[in-house]
Each structure stands twice: as C-alpha cells, then as structure tokens.
C-alpha cells in the first residue's frame, strides 16, 4: 500500500493540566490520613476500656499532671501558630521566615522535653507501662504522639537548615507545615481524651 509522502501526522496540542496539589503535599496528606485513622483506633479502644471500668483512672495509681500538661499544650499550639505566621512571611520574603521558624522549633522542642520530664516523673512515681490498663493506654497513645512530635521537630530543624542554605522550596515548606499542624492539632484531642476524661 503506497503512502502519500506529503502526508504529515498532526498531533493535537498537549492538554494543559492544572496541578491541584504539589506532590510532596499530597504525599503528606495521605500519610496524615493514615495517621488520623491510627489515632482514631487508639482513642476508640481507650473509650471502650474506660467504659468498662468503674473507676477511671484507677484510684491507686499516680495522677497525671493535668495542669502542667495544659501549659505544655499551650506551648505546642503556639508553635503551630508561629509556624503558620512563618508560612505567610515565607510567601513574601523567605529570609523573613527564619526567625518565626526558629521560635516555632524551640516551642516544639520545649513540648517534647517537657513530655520527657513528665514521663520520667511518672515512672519514678511508680506509673509503669503495666501498672494498669489506663497506664498502658497513656504510654502508648502519648508515646505515639511523642514519636510524631520528635519526627516533626526533626523536620523543623531541617527546614531551618534548608532555609539558611537557600534550598527550601515553597512546596516542601507547605508539606512540612502540614505535618506539624497535624501534630499540633492532634494533641488537644489526645489531652482531652487521656488527661481530662
């Protein structure tokens, strides 16, 4: 079959797709979604265990430091608010975001260190992982959150280093902020469930 030598294939112009969400942000969103379900499972199991016990927390164990942790909660919320402010500063002038990012990181570090001190104090008072069902849930739930806070803190440290080096991208900063907001906003829910109820 002969072909016409003058025939040219004309491709339609590629369709311009609008990028809805940067890849990093989408990845972190999916990760957060799975983490929310993890903590939802913890909270549900905790609620079931609480409803099965007449005295909750058990009267013969050390009390959780409710007021001190309220102060710590405030520090973590403040950390998230300051990071949000850093995000707005970054949009206009990346260098201007450095100081609020450092403040946010220090507040996050304060939260993690305070949690560590609290755990050491509770352990020395005799509240171990196997003391009671309540104590087991306390260490597992708060410990899981503390691991996330430690990871988020590591990300904040890396953000400061990247910003100083001039390699921090807007998309990367957005994704990192999203994770820290998750850590920050999850904590009041856990505090309410574990410490106050």
């Amino acid at each position: 079959m002969a072909t016409d030598p003058n025939l040219r294939l004309v491709h339609p112009p590629p369709r311009q797709l609008r990028r809805a969400v940067p890849d990093q942000v989408l990845g972190v969103m999916i990760f957060i979604l799975t983490e929310i379900m993890l903590f939802a499972g913890f909270i549900s199991a905790f609620a079931i265990a609480r409803s099965s016990n007449d005295a909750w927390p058990p009267p013969n164990q050390p009390l959780l430091p409710v007021q001190e942790t309220a102060l710590n909660t405030l520090a973590l919320l403040l950390s998230g608010a300051v990071l949000s402010y850093a995000g707005r500063r970054f949009a206009s002038d990346p260098r201007a975001a450095l100081r609020p990012m450092i403040v946010s990181m220090l507040l996050g570090a304060f939260f993690v260190v305070f949690q560590g001190v609290e755990w050491v104090s509770l352990l020395s008072d005799g509240l171990g992982l196997t003391t009671s069902t309540h104590a087991s849930f306390f260490y597992v739930i708060v410990g899981a959150h503390a691991l996330h806070a430690l990871g988020g803190l590591g990300v904040l440290v890396a953000l400061v280093a990247w910003l100083r080096a001039g390699t921090l991208t807007a998309d990367g900063f957005w994704a990192a902020r999203l994770f820290w907001y998750f850590v920050v906003l999850l904590w009041p829910v856990l505090y309410w469930q574990v410490y106050l109820r």
């Binding site: 609008r18 809805a20 969400v21 969103m29 979604l33 929310i36 379900m37 939802a40 499972g41 909270i43 549900s44 609620a47 079931i48 609480r50 409803s51 099965s52």
Partner: protein
C-alpha cells in the same frame, strides 16, 4: 447419612448451649459500655469517609479554582 449428621448437629446445639456474644470483645453489658461501642463504631465508620471525601473535594476545588494572574 445426611439425616444422621443433621440430627447430631441439632442435638449438639440443643444440649451444649453457651452464651453467644455479638463480637469477641463484648465483655461488659453495662449501658455505658454498649454506648461506647456504638459511639466508636459510628466514629470509625464516618471518619474515613469524611477524610476521603473532604480531601477529594478540596483537591477538586484546587483544580477548578481560577489561575491567579
């Protein structure tokens, strides 16, 4: 043969009754416990749907939003 097996099954069910729990973790029959099971079932059912559809709607809005400039 089939009739004999059926008879044995009926006899076993009738002669060896044990409490049948609705689920393996229903260890307490108090109202508070039943309420907790109900609440957490609703919570764990609704939450992933809200997250997935909420996220999907947000992405859809991001896609259809007018391009700045």
């Amino acid at each position: 043969m089939g009739r004999l097996v059926r008879s044995w099954i009926v006899a076993a069910v009738c002669l060896c009754p044990t409490p049948a729990l609705a689920c393996a973790v229903c260890f307490d029959a108090t109202d508070e416990n039943r309420r907790a099971f109900l609440d957490t079932t609703i919570f764990l059912t609704v939450l992933p749907l809200v997250l997935i559809f909420g996220g999907g709607y947000w992405i859809y809005r991001q896609t259809t939003a007018p391009v700045p400039g």
